[in-house]
Subunit: 100 residues, 2 copies
């Protein structure tokens, strides 16, 4: 599995608008096992995104999906930057689909 | 929802042993929607844990479960410390159970 943990920063006051675009653009991504979008309660412009994919290739391919391309285009002007971005290797836990 | 993103540090060389305990101790926790345990490929002793709970109370209650208490007791000597620990407010995404 391939994982990402990232902290995204919205332009001031635009977090809710950015969240709405992210929530709308994350359905039906092949190979995506988990994609959790969260507010940071201690940082009014910050969004945490934690992702689990079957492999790095599925994540990379998702960036070319029309729905994701459209979400990126709509979101771009609302993103001030990325505070952190970590790649991980998920090994298991609870709430992931069973291996097929 | 209530979320946690944490980076745990194993004592040198003990990451696999610590992972095994964590993987074993995270079944059947009431209110736990997602609990993903991951290696950090860039840091040989680091483990990332990302959690989603129905609410903060469910997370707090889980710490008293016998299986979790046993896992904590077994893991304690293998944990060197915590590099980061962030609380989040998950708002949605993909791969979480549908609201009931």
């Amino acid at each position: 599995m391939y994982g990402l943990i990232g902290k995204m920063r919205a332009t001031p006051g635009q977090r809710d608008a950015l969240l709405a675009i992210l929530l709308d653009g994350t359905d039906a991504m092949p190979g995506c096992l988990s994609y959790v979008i969260a507010q940071d309660p201690a940082d009014a412009d910050a969004i945490w995104i934690t992702e689990v994919w079957t492999d790095a290739g599925s994540h990379k391919a998702s960036l070319s999906l029309p729905a994701v391309q459209q979400a990126i285009a709509k979101a771009r002007s609302l993103i001030a930057g990325f505070d952190s971005h970590v790649e991980t290797v998920p090994v298991g836990g609870h709430g992931l689909p069973s291996p097929r």
